[in-house]
Each structure stands twice: as structure tokens, then as C-alpha cells.
Symmetry: C2
Subunit: 209 residues, 2 copies
């Protein structure tokens, strides 16, 4: 099963690597990191270089497409070469997936009109502008489109998808393999749970508002 | 605050990227990915290339050292050049940390004798051979040594460390920024929770036994 993860300059690393760590453990998975041009891309902090091993033009259309988020995906929202490829990949894919603001790219490609979908909590308004029925659920499946909320939610999304694809025993084995038995030290991972002052601080930092 | 993440061929990506995503968001953090030799390393699946931007010989000793796991760290357990660097980094560091089997490298460097520490659940016996007081807790702090359990636990470890370094408000802001409000689709992330047959299957796959 071919999985293509679309990367770009200034992606948020965990958006891509969380699901990669799960999906690459599916029996028969062949994961590829692809970008508009092959080569090294730097993540949003600048601190990490990730290899895009193939250009999208050189990539066989995948069975699973994954689009991560990060401030660097804003230029993709008006990049017709990338959006055409996303549309073509979606057309042939079994599953079209996103994490965080990756859903904005699916929206810009016209894939989310009337579709229930999610994104990072600070970007749900923006997601709705693409005609999506934006929801703050952590993982949303609507037909073959699977979207996840912010950054770390890609792990939950990928485990959910793993169960859809290979059954719950395989998904549980992957979960155990990555020892995903979370114990966050605080209960502050959602805007409904974090202190309001922290929510406003983070909203400003994330959206530049 | 300088953070050095030691990478190597066949590392487990999420071991490194989970904590990176948290620690790189600390005010003043400067994260570097380093390896014995600078250049691209491939992860344990072969599907992902990560840039080691500096060789350890060329890296200023960090304030935080992070050693991830993955089958590729077994050669490091007898690599005196790497172990010497780990010892020197630990000596000067404020925090010496590991995720998953990264703790075996700390053990091989002689840092865990009599120290409470953890590792991936399938490797706790092996960790104890280095004199560590091996425990199955998810995040263990003993003095300046902070070890985390398998793969995904590095996120919990790094948020715990973020709170120690910068206070709980900063840690909560980071948690909210990465929307870490986990909703695993199964309760199978620990050997105490997963069905026994799955535990034995995964133990065999992880340890080659």
C-alpha cells in the first residue's frame, strides 16, 4: 500500500512524523516523502531537515495521501501544480488524509465542499471558508477523506485509519509497538480545557492575530 | 538553551520528533540534530531521511541531550567515540534525556548505574543489565537524567521537562499549540492493557525473540 506524505519548507514535523510512525508499520506499507521538488526541506523551526525523496511529478499516485500542516503550507494554497497533484492523488486514492492545517490544502484543492472536516483548533474558521463543515472533533472521517486536528492528533488519526485498513488487532499491535498510552502532564491540550489566557496567547501565536 | 538530539541510521523517527516538537517551542531553544558523522540518516523503516546537521565532534556541548531509540542504536552501545561524547555531554548538561531504547545508550555510557530509569516496555530487562533500577513508568526523572518509555512517550517526557525548565504555563501553551489532547482509538498502548496475544507478538517483533 503506497503512502505519499507531501512535505514542504516550514512544515510542522510532528504532523507528518506521527502518522508516518503508525502507517509505516502497516503490513505492506510503502511510505514516501514527496514534495514539489525533491530535496531537503526544513521544518517550521528551521532546526530539522527532512528529505523529500521524490518530486510529486515523479511520484506514482498513492493509495493514501497525507498532507501535514505548518505555516509553510500557505503558499501551496495557491500553487496550481501542487493542487492539481492533490486532486489527482485524491481521485485515485483509497484515503485522502490531512493533519492540522493540512486540511486547508485539501480545501484549496476543492475537496472539502460540503465535507465534514477538522484542522488545528485555531484554524477552524479558515477551514470553513472552503465550504467544509468544520468541526472540532479530533479525527473526522467523511467518505474517503480523513482529517485530524492539530499536530499530535495525527497519531490518533493514523491509528484509526490503521484499524479501518488492517483491522483492530493490527492497529492495537502498532499502538503497543509505539507504546501509545498517553499521560500528558497537564489537561491543557484543547482550547476547551486550557486556561483562557493561554488559549488567547496561543491563538495569537498560531494565527498571527 | 542548546538541545542536541543524537540521531543515527535506523533510528525510530517519532522518538526524536515528538520531543523535538515540544522542546523546539521553548523560549530560547536552539535544537540541533547531530550524529557521529554529519549527513542524512535513514530511519528504521528506510522511508524517511533526516538530516544530521553536525557531527558530534563539531557540536558544542548542549544543555539538553536527547538520545532516541531504534534498532540502529545497538552499534552505538559499543562505539567508544559516541559513548565518550555522551559522557561529556552529560557532564556539562542540565538535563540528559532519552526516549525508548535511547536509555540503553545512556546505560552503555555508564550513566545509569543505580539510577531509576525506563525504556520501551520490551527492553526493561536489558536496561536493568546496565545497573539501572528499571521501571515501567512512562517518564522517570532521577536527578538530571530523564528517561521515557517507548516511542510516543517522548511527547509526555518533553512536556514534563518543559514545565521543569520554563514553568507550567509555558508547558501548557506548548501542549495546546500541538493540540495534545490524546484520544487513542484503543486502550492498547501498554503491555498491561493490550490483549496478551498482541503483547507476545509485538515483544517478538521488537526484540527479535
Amino acid at each position: 500500500m503506497k503512502v505519499a506524505i507531501l512535505v514542504f519548507e516550514k512544515l510542522t514535523a510532528l504532523d507528518a512524523i506521527g502518522p508516518y510512525e503508525v502507517l509505516s508499520r502497516l503490513p505492506g506499507a510503502e511510505v514516501q516523502f514527496v514534495a514539489k521538488e525533491a530535496g531537503l526541506v526544513r521544518t517550521d523551526t528551521g532546526a530539522l531537515g527532512v528529505s523529500a525523496d521524490r518530486s510529486i511529478a515523479d511520484t506514482e499516485l498513492p493509495e493514501i495521501l497525507l498532507v501535514p500542516g505548518g505555516e509553510g503550507n500557505r503558499p501551496l494554497l495557491t500553487d496550481e501544480e501542487v493542487l492539481d497533484w492533490v486532486r489527482a492523488a485524491h481521485e485515485g486514492a483509497t484515503w485522502t488524509t490531512s493533519v492540522c492545517t493540512g486540511s486547508l490544502v485539501l480545501g484549496a484543492a476543492g475537496l472539502l465542499d460540503g465535507v465534514r472536516a477538522t484542522s488545528h483548533w485555531a484554524f477552524l474558521d479558515r477551514l470553513a471558508r472552503y465550504g467544509a463543515e468544520a468541526t472540532s472533533e479530533r479525527v473526522v472521517i467523511d467518505g474517503k477523506i480523513v482529517t485530524a486536528a492539530g499536530v499530535s492528533s495525527g497519531i490518533d488519526m493514523a491509528l484509526t485509519l490503521a484499524a479501518e485498513i488492517a483491522g483492530s488487532e493490527v492497529a492495537q499491535a502498532i499502538q503497543l509497538g509505539i507504546e501509545y498510552d498517553p499521560e500528558p502532564p497537564f489537561d491543557a491540550g484543547s482550547p476547551h480545557k486550557a486556561p483562557p489566557a493561554i488559549v488567547e496567547l496561543v491563538r495569537g501565536a498560531e494565527t498571527g492575530s
